[in-house]
Point group: C2
Chain length 216, copies 2
């Protein structure tokens, strides 16, 4: 049903669309970094990019879609900080705990250095009935794999399902410490102290978990 | 400088003011429970209470002040769930861990049953430069005392300052698990599983911490 004329003009339109999409994402990144998720308004966005407000919705179904695109880039940035020098020491348990601490500190440092971007990952609330896109959820779960590996080392007998659940919980625990640690309302902690707390909590958890995992 | 007439009329004005204050807090509680913090708008509030919008600001400096009043009541509700049957068993360490688990589960249950009220404690962001009232911060810190007591049992040699810091971190860790556990975006966990996770994490932390605290 595509006319010849339209078929010829399509590549150009696609390029234009992709350029607009990239420009909108880049502008949204800057706005979120400057003012957080609340700073993201369609009118300001259109003004920055130099397009009509309506043009935004030719590229993204809505602003939530645009936020997912930005948050996916944030997850990618975060992932690049998680590359771990493989623990090849003699003590498997100590290695695994060291890896978990390394991951926890990488997360802490990223959040401290990119607070508004990082907050946008969690502050983004969807309207009722709207689901998180599957591709985005898959990206998120890939990050949990980094935690699962050392957990497997700590408790080799633990099944995959409870291990995945525990990885989520350990991530959540560290997230909570960082979240409240950086929260100005409760007096934020200096980064050095926050890092010490994350280290102490993960080490205590790791030792206690290895004991339980070994005996269970 | 108070005229006789004004002095006579004051008690009545004070009563009226207090009644309006109570009515505004009660209405704000219902609105936050129904729609969360975002549902709190001055105009709707005035409509519900049957006063002029301006009258709200005769009683509260701004809506943030009103939110602090509601959040203080939430903290009080939360505190009533934390009353712990004193652990009088033979094993001090096991007792302390049991107490920590009890506190963590009470927190989990409160958050699950009163999700919007509980979220309002954390979603409430202040404008730049505006500080949390001292009285509110004191209420918050009182809650951390509940966690410090069992930590003292677990590691009697630990000084007060690092213990207070650790109590905050342990609270934050449990908060993170509950926060992300109840988060629909990441598929929320059934309450039973969430409670198991909180229990497992606190138990592992408690054991590991007792080992470290004992040797440090």
């Amino acid at each position: 049903m595509v006319s010849e004329a339209k078929s010829y003009s399509e590549p150009k339109a696609v390029t234009r669309r992709r350029k607009l999409r990239d420009a909108l994402i880049a502008a949204a990144e800057r706005m979120i970094e400057a003012e957080g998720l609340r700073g993201l308004r369609a009118r300001d966005l259109a003004l920055r990019v130099g397009c009509a407000v309506g043009a935004i919705y030719n590229v993204f179904a809505d602003l939530d879609d645009l936020v997912f695109a930005v948050n996916a880039l944030t997850l990618e940035q975060l992932e690049t900080t998680l590359t771990v020098a493989g623990g090849e020491g003699v003590d498997r348990q100590a290695d695994a705990i060291r890896t978990l601490v390394h991951l926890g500190l990488a997360y802490t440092d990223y959040a401290a250095a990119n607070t508004r971007r990082w907050r946008a990952l969690f502050d983004h609330r969807l309207p009722e009935g709207r689901d998180v896109p599957t591709w985005y959820r898959a990206n998120l779960h890939r990050l949990f794999d980094y935690i699962e590996r050392p957990l497997r080392q700590l408790a080799p007998a633990l099944d995959a399902a409870p291990r995945a659940l525990l990885a989520r919980s350990l991530f959540s625990a560290v997230h909570g410490i960082v979240l409240i640690g950086l929260e100005e309302k409760l007096q934020s902690l200096p980064l050095g102290i926050l890092r010490e707390q994350v280290t102490a909590m993960i080490e205590a958890f790791g030792r206690g978990f290895a004991v339980q995992g070994g005996s269970a």
